[in-house]
Every structure is written in structure tokens, then in C-alpha cells.
């Protein structure tokens, strides 16, 4: 009997820090097993050998910030049977989406002496604003165990098991004391999606929201609790305007605390 054809995996990079695709290489104990199950057909960070599409599964890292990339993502979609976005840049625009709240021409002139050499869009946007996406994996960076779970699920035709509940649930699961209740430390855990393992509270600091908003987050209520801890409006804007600033619930909440 002929051996089953191995599914072809591709990894694509847009505007990002490389950390999420690095998470795949960080699967030190699983990498060679993964490479046995799938054909790593396009992964420039790992190999100069590239196979032609179509690909069974594409992992997309990064956000869309240039006219060229806005075009390229359509090509990626066209050659991919399934497309998963990995990380806060690809799912929410990333930290570079802070430009969406400012005048980008000003930004360019802060960094570059010759702004005319620089080609960029006014906004940094998630992949799903440009093409249909089959699954969005959260995190800045993604959790490598969740990444393996999603790859395995999609290749086996089942839904990934990535809970949409809040970081609070993970704190309870690992038995970490609530930093907000016990020590009055402002924490975004109640409105942030689980997946990291509640590491910030476990290390004694408040969650800073790097996995983005949970399902149906009550950001307004949480902001009220922060105000009772003497957090001022400016710091509320900063808190919601982080690595997932352009995710709608966080965007709305940060705008609610912005001065006139």
C-alpha cells in the first residue's frame, strides 16, 4: 500500500518580530517528530529549500503594513488549503498597530531623515481584515504547546482545543493567588484570553493582556476596578493600548479613557 502523502506545511512572515515562528523551532522535543509527520515545504527561517504550493496548512505570522504585503497575503491565501494566523500581530495588528491611533507621517519623520524612501500603510491590520482565516491563534508570543495543538487538530480535521475563557481561570487552575484582590496590583487577567498559563500573576505582576480580549470581556467593569486602585485615565489608555491595541474591545476601552 502506498504511504500516505505527508501534508505540506508553509510558514509565512509579515510585519512581526519572528518570535511566533521561532516558537515552532522552540519545540525542541517535538520538532523532528513534526518534520516526520508533515513536509516543511516553505519555512525560510529554517531552510532555503522551498517547494511549490498548494500547501495543506499555512501558518501566517505578522500584520499587514505595506501595500506589497496587502497584495502578497492574497497570494498566500490562494495557495493555502487552510490558513492559521499565529500571534498578536497576525490576529490583531500587533504593537505596530499603535500607529492606527496616530498620524503615520509624523511617525515616519521621527524615525527617518528621508521619509520619502519609506513605503508604508497608515494602519497595521490583522490578516483577517484582508482574507478569510481558518483559525486565529492568540498570544504575543503564541504558546508553543497551543501551536502544536492547532497544527495537529487542523491536520486531523478536528477543532483545536484552545479555551476562550479568561486568564483568571488559569490562575485558579495553577493555584496562583489573585494579585489584584490580594495585593491591589492592577491586572488585565479578567478580560484577557487564557493560553499563557497565567505566568504574569504567578510571577507576582499583573497580566498585561498579550493574548488579547477573551470572549465577551467586560472591559468597562474592569476599568472601574482599576480606577479604585488609583490608576489614572492615562495609564488606563496605556494598559488597553498594548500588544493587542487594535482588537476591538481593547480599542474601544482605550478610546473611552482618552481625553478630548
Amino acid at each position: 500500500m502506498a504511504r500516505r502523502r505527508r501534508p505540506k506545511l508553509a510558514v509565512w512572515k509579515f510585519s512581526s518580530c519572528d518570535g511566533c515562528q521561532l516558537s515552532l523551532l522552540d519545540c525542541e522535543d517535538e520538532l523532528l517528530a513534526v518534520a516526520g509527520e508533515v513536509e516543511i515545504a516553505y519555512f525560510l527561517e529554517a531552510t532555503r529549500a522551498t517547494a511549490a504550493g498548494p500547501f495543506d496548512l499555512s501558518l501566517v505570522e505578522g500584520s499587514i503594513t505595506t501595500p506589497h504585503d496587502a497584495h502578497r497575503i492574497h497570494h498566500v491565501r490562494k495557495v493555502s488549503k487552510r490558513l492559521i494566523t499565529i500571534g498578536a500581530c497576525a490576529t490583531a495588528g500587533g504593537i505596530q498597530a499603535l500607529r492606527n491611533f496616530h498620524n503615520v507621517e509624523q511617525f515616519i519623520s521621527v524615525v527617518y531623515a528621508r521619509p520619502d524612501y519609506i513605503e508604508t500603510l497608515r494602519t497595521s491590520t490583522p490578516i483577517a481584515e484582508h482574507v478569510p482565516v481558518d483559525f486565529e491563534l492568540r498570544g504575543c508570543p503564541v504558546n508553543k504547546h497551543q501551536l502544536l495543538e492547532v497544527i495537529s487538530a487542523l491536520l486531523n480535521g478536528r477543532s483545536p482545543n484552545t479555551p476562550p475563557h479568561s486568564v483568571c481561570m488559569e490562575c485558579k487552575l495553577r493555584g496562583a493567588a489573585c494579585v489584584m484582590v490580594a495585593r491591589g496590583v492592577p491586572c488585565l487577567g479578567p478580560v484577557t484570553q487564557a493560553g499563557c498559563g497565567a505566568i504574569c500573576p504567578a510571577y507576582g505582576r499583573g497580566c498585561y493582556g498579550c493574548f488579547g480580549p477573551k470572549e465577551t470581556p467586560n472591559t468597562r467593569s474592569l476599568a472601574g476596578w482599576w480606577q479604585r486602585l488609583d490608576v489614572d485615565e492615562r495609564d488606563l489608555v496605556r494598559a488597553f493600548r498594548g500588544f493587542n491595541a487594535y482588537a476591538e474591545p481593547f480599542k474601544r476601552e482605550s478610546e473611552a479613557h482618552e481625553g478630548p
Binding site: G19, C20, L22, L44, E45, T47, I95, L98, I108
Partner: protein, 435 residues
């Protein structure tokens, strides 16, 4: 109309670098007429959006410049802010910082030596292809990389964008038992790193040297990682705060990363080779001996041998991490207290790829007024271009496909981290004559 004598050869996008860029070499009448290392990084404007943020946010925000070396960004930001606030972090808190930074060197160096650079020397497209013939070597690589990540995980909370570093120290300090749990595997890693030096020393290296200006940090009694002065082998010896008086950044049309130069002299070279050449006497006896056994003198000017030097540093980082773990005592406080004040601060640390400089101006309530970040890959860009120009000129008789691969290898000597940059390294050699 295209000149029939002009040939444009388009080949694979350059792989096995962090991030993406492009290279263009033009050959005309038997000489190299133009070389461009193009970085098409979609600009992310960190220096702009840091304005108006709290000084406390700088480490977490700037770590997102690079997922490969987040500790470097967090540490340079911390050092710069502590300089601005007049705060000193020393004793075991400083030792813990050095330890987590060793973890990043181990992780990043193991990744580059084995997975990104070695395939060039052995003729493989990548590490997965290499694993088919050299499974044990690749497994050694993965375990070395893993122990580096595990140090970052234990001290920092997670391997990529760790959450435990802050200005003034840490949120939570590890117990002695937590650090001791790493020791057995680090003992193994030290031996595996020693084996790595021997392994890379046996590669074939093209005869290629140049009169570079090497720039690195130098510390009174340590191999430099988190602090020191900035020195060069051409007489530079400055405090970190004088960075901008000695170096300048220039914008060129073909790159969104700024080129850096020593004022009045030109391009320079930072990274493992520079650190090694300027600090050989600060390495451990074992690392020095391993270097000598590998055939390296106290100075090495061949960038292709950077893979051996990187292996020597890998060995040193494993030894140093072990030393720090065995000498660790839990500090009384996880961080020193901070009061914002209006000031300017400078910080420079040795990222795996070379010196990383940060400068911040903060106002009285701790709001960032301005930020400047100079990553190592931007500093090396001009030197990479110089190398390519000379390298290609001496090898015009090579078939284009092979020459292209050798050029990629020459770029990877610098372990370029274009993530701070990005996009296609769309490698092209245009020839208007020749084969």
C-alpha cells in the same frame, strides 16, 4: 529594451536568517559595480510610539522588536532607564540578569550555529535536511537550544518575550532549588558546547580576511554582556553615554534599517567576532583553550570562522551560567525602588549579534519624551556589503548558483537579525558580462 549582455539571475529568497531582506550584486565588465543589502523591513516605528509611554513599559515594548533576542532589548532598555534614574542594580540581581542573558546567548547561538549556519558548510538546504544524515548532531543542537530556553523560562517566565524583567530588577526572584534544577543539564551542555567547538573547527573556511574595525563592550573583569565601555581595535574607548558623539546613523535608499558608522572612519563590525577579539583575555581558561585547540589565535579576522567563535562563546555562556547558578543566593528584594525624574539615560548591552544601544529622554513623571534604538544588525549592514563586494570580486569564475549560495553564507556570518527589519531577502546577482 533589455541589454542582451545584461543577465539578471533571480534565485531563492535568502533563508535561515531572522527576518527577511534582499541582496543585489551587479557585475559589469568583470568588476562588481554595485552591492546592496536591502532591508525591506516594513517599518514598525518603535522609536515613535514609545513617546508618551511610561518609562516602566520600555522593556516589554522594545522586546517585541525581536523574538530571537528579547532579553537584549529588555536589558538595554533597563540599563538606559536605570542610568536616567540614577539607580544601580548590583549583587545577585545583577548576577541573575547575567544568567538570563547567558540563556539567550545559548539559545540564540545554538540556533544559529547548528540550524542556520552549519547547513551552508555541510551543503544542506536546512536543518531538517541535515537531520536525515546527522540526526545525533541535530538532536544535540536541539537540546543545547532547549537548555538556553529553559534558563530564560525559569528566570524570565517564558522563552520568548519573558515577563519577569523590569527596570530595577525582577518581579519575582527564583529560589536556589529552581536554579539548581538546571545544573545537571547545563553540565551536559558545557560538554556538548565544547564538542560544538571541535565540530565547527573542522569545517572548510574560505581564505577571507579584512582590516575591519571591531567594536564591542569591555568590562574590567568579565567577558562583556550587560555592561562596560564601548571599545574598538582602532583606539575607540568610550562610555556608553558617548555613543552618539562617536557613531552616526545614516539612511540609505535601499534599506529601512539605518546604517551606522564610526564618525570620520566608516563601517565597523560588531558581534561575537568583535567581542572575542577585544576580550579574549576575559574568557574562561577552558574557553580560551578550546579556541586554541580549534586553531584560533586571540584574534580572528575571517568572518567565516565566526561560527567557531560563536561556539567558543556558547561554551563560555554554559560555563558562566553554571558558575552563576552555583554562586546564587536569593536577594533580599526582587527589585530596587525607583522614583521617576526628568533625565536622559543610555544603555548598551551585548546582544547575541553585537552591541545594542538604547537612549531615552524621560520627563519628571516618567513619561518617555524620546527614544533611540540602534540594533547590531543595522550596525553591521555596511560591513556585510563591503564583504560581499570583495568576496564576489575574487570569485567571479564560480557558477552563479554556487556563488549565490556562498554569498548567502557570507551574509549569515553576521547572523543578521532582520526582524528588527524584515521582508524578502530576494537574492539577485545581475551580470552584464561573464558566465
Amino acid at each position: 529594451m533589455k541589454d542582451p549582455k545584461t543577465r539578471t539571475i533571480k534565485v531563492d529568497a535568502l533563508a535561515r536568517v531572522e527576518g527577511e531582506g534582499a541582496m543585489l550584486v551587479r557585475v559589469r565588465n568583470g568588476t562588481v559595480s554595485e552591492v546592496q543589502l536591502n532591508i525591506y523591513e516594513p517599518p514598525r516605528f518603535f522609536e515613535a510610539f514609545l513617546r508618551g509611554r511610561s518609562f516602566r513599559e520600555a522593556p516589554d515594548i522594545t522586546s517585541r522588536i525581536c523574538g530571537i533576542c528579547p532579553i537584549a532589548y529588555q536589558m538595554s532598555a533597563c540599563r538606559a532607564m536605570e542610568d536616567a534614574l540614577g539607580v544601580t542594580v548590583d549583587g545577585q540581581l545583577r548576577a541573575l540578569r547575567r544568567l538570563i542573558y547567558c540563556g539567550e546567548w545559548i539559545e540564540s547561538h545554538a540556533l544559529h550555529i547548528y540550524m542556520l549556519h552549519a547547513p551552508d558548510f555541510l551543503g544542506y538546504a536546512g536543518v531538517v535536511e541535515m537531520a536525515r544524515d546527522h540526526r545525533e548532531i541535530v538532536e544535540r543542537a536541539l537540546q543545547l537550544k532547549k537548555i538556553g530556553n529553559d534558563i530564560i523560562d525559569v528566570v524570565g517566565g517564558r522563552a520568548v518575550h519573558p515577563i519577569n524583567l523590569r527596570i530595577g530588577g525582577f518581579y519575582r526572584v527564583p529560589s536556589r532549588a529552581e536554579l539548581r534544577s538546571l545544573a545537571d543539564r547545563l553540565e551536559w551542555a558545557r560538554d556538548a558546547a565544547h564538542e560544538t567547538v571541535r565540530w565547527t573547527a573542522g569545517f572548510d573556511f574560505p581564505d577571507f580576511e579584512s582590516d575591519y574595525e571591531f567594536v564591542a563592550m569591555r568590562h574590567p573583569d568579565e567577558y562583556p554582556i550587560t555592561d562596560g565601555r564601548i571599545v574598538s581595535d582602532k583606539g575607540l574607548d568610550i562610555a556608553v553615554r558617548d555613543f552618539n558623539t562617536e557613531f552616526e546613523e545614516l539612511q540609505v535608499p535601499h534599506s529601512t534599517a539605518l546604517h551606522a558608522r564610526v564618525r570620520g572612519r566608516g563601517s565597523y563590525f560588531c558581534g561575537p567576532l568583535a567581542r572575542y577579539n577585544l576580550n579574549f583575555d576575559r574568557l574562561s581558561p577552558l574557553a580560551r583553550q578550546a579556541a586554541r585547540d580549534a586553531g584560533l589565535g586571540p584574534t580572528c579576522r575571517n568572518p567565516f570562522q565566526s561560527i567557531v567563535v560563536r561556539s567558543v562563546e556558547l561554551l563560555y555562556a554554559c560555563e558562566e551560567a553554571l558558575r552563576l547558578i552555583y554562586q546564587y543566593e536569593v536577594p533580599d528584594q526582587p527589585a530596587v525602588a525607583l522614583e521617576p525624574r526628568a533625565a536622559v539615560g543610555h544603555g548598551c548591552t551585548e546582544a547575541p549579534r553585537g552591541i545594542l544601544y538604547h537612549r531615552y529622554e524621560v520627563d519628571a513623571d516618567g513619561t518617555i519624551v524620546s527614544a533611540q534604538i540602534v540594533p547590531p544588525t543595522a550596525q553591521n549592514q555596511a560591513t556585510v556589503e563591503d564583504d560581499l563586494r570583495r568576496f564576489v570580486a575574487a570569485r567571479l569564475d564560480l557558477p552563479t548558483e554556487e556563488l549565490t549560495w556562498r554569498c548567502e553564507q557570507a551574509i549569515r556570518n553576521y547572523d543578521p537579525c532582520i526582524s528588527c527589519a524584515t521582508h524578502f531577502l530576494d537574492l539577485r546577482i545581475e551580470r552584464e558580462d561573464g558566465p
